[in-house]
Symmetry: C2
Subunit: 219 residues, 2 copies
């Protein structure tokens, strides 16, 4: 297998998609401030990124940019949106209407750029029929099948107590959801063909611990 | 500048510390299941990581591992904890006792491995004096100076409404906090010497959008 085909066939890592998300934010900022073209070097410089990695990441998906001129900001932004799959509708349910579920349902970033929170799901009679502060309705978990069918929900966010996470994951997968974002600090199993992504907020704190350990005042 | 000194002097990127956090989780799992030594190749294989990158990341911090034998799991785990700065006490306050603040204060991962949530801070009279479900007390924001001095708080987590984030960041920094984790989807400015880390939950959703776009059923 030569180098090219090895590269074409490799699995696209999570860190690559995370970097694409970061490029998207930078390109959105540039577009909003009226910048029309940018080189990978300037893009890297302005946003503290690695210019070689930018070129490598983008080259993997096709030929963007013109040598000596750089990338057209608006076009590249559209391409990254397309690569990330954000040009299709993302319809999200949040399972669990506790503090975390309610906080996530009103999280500003979620309801933007092709992404829409359809409902919170819970089974507590006191919660079903209410709504989050931002107006996202709380529906009974038994409505999941209908929401997948009629509202084309394709992502479930798990924000439930630890003991019940696997049962609820199985439930939403059974209803046809193929992508699950898990906030429960518990190791879950998903069947083949289902994307399961764990969010580990402790990693963010660990990044800060590292910078404290390295700072002159922190020693 | 030769290759070695270039490498030694480079800035340690956020993605490196994130990878170290991931290695720590893997090593903890291995240690708990009684594995004593492991090669970078097996470590990579078991946890879907890149073995060359593991060797590079660890070599940056010193010589670990024995050629042909691999790493001693327990020793390497301790080294990674030390590198990440998790061998020192992390004392955390969460600013904002709304849904997100309450959810974070009881988030299991936060109160572990050298990390302790000291208090939630708010200014609403109805909230001050109460506690989260897990027992973290809600104190008045005016206590921040005392908490930094007496309880050695060194990390603040911002979970407040968008408009007030910069004011509260300035407040905790003024009180002596040098590391801030920001959940508010707003661009904040921190003075030099203060680590400010933004958590953007939308990136997690975007990773799922990408896998949906690539899956056979997603097209």
């Amino acid at each position: 297998m030569d180098r090219t085909s090895a590269r074409k066939s490799r699995h696209i890592s999570e860190s690559t998609t995370t970097r694409l998300s970061i490029y998207l934010r930078c390109l959105t900022t540039l577009d909003q401030t009226g910048v029309e073209t940018i080189s990978s070097k300037d893009l890297a410089g302005q946003f503290h990124l690695n210019s070689a990695l930018i070129r490598k990441d983008l080259a993997y998906f096709g030929e963007f940019g013109v040598r000596g001129v750089g990338y057209n900001v608006r076009e590249l932004r559209q391409q990254v949106i397309r690569i990330l799959g954000l040009d299709r509708d993302l319809r999200v349910v949040i399972v669990g209407a506790g503090n975390l579920g309610l906080a996530l349902s009103d999280y500003r970033g979620f309801n933007s750029e092709g992404c829409r929170i359809v409902a919170l799901l819970d089974n507590a009679p006191a919660k079903v029929g209410t709504a989050s502060r931002g107006g996202i309705p709380v529906r009974h978990i038994d409505e999941i099948e209908r929401l997948v069918r009629d509202e084309r929900v394709n992502i479930a966010v798990l924000a439930v107590p630890a003991g019940s996470a696997q049962t609820l994951l199985d439930r939403v997968v059974g209803a046809g959801v193929r992508a699950v974002l898990n906030f429960v600090p518990e190791r879950l199993r998903a069947p083949e063909g289902v994307s399961l992504k764990d969010v580990d907020l402790k990693i963010q704190i660990e990044g800060l611990a590292f910078s404290l350990a390295r700072s002159p005042e922190g020693s």
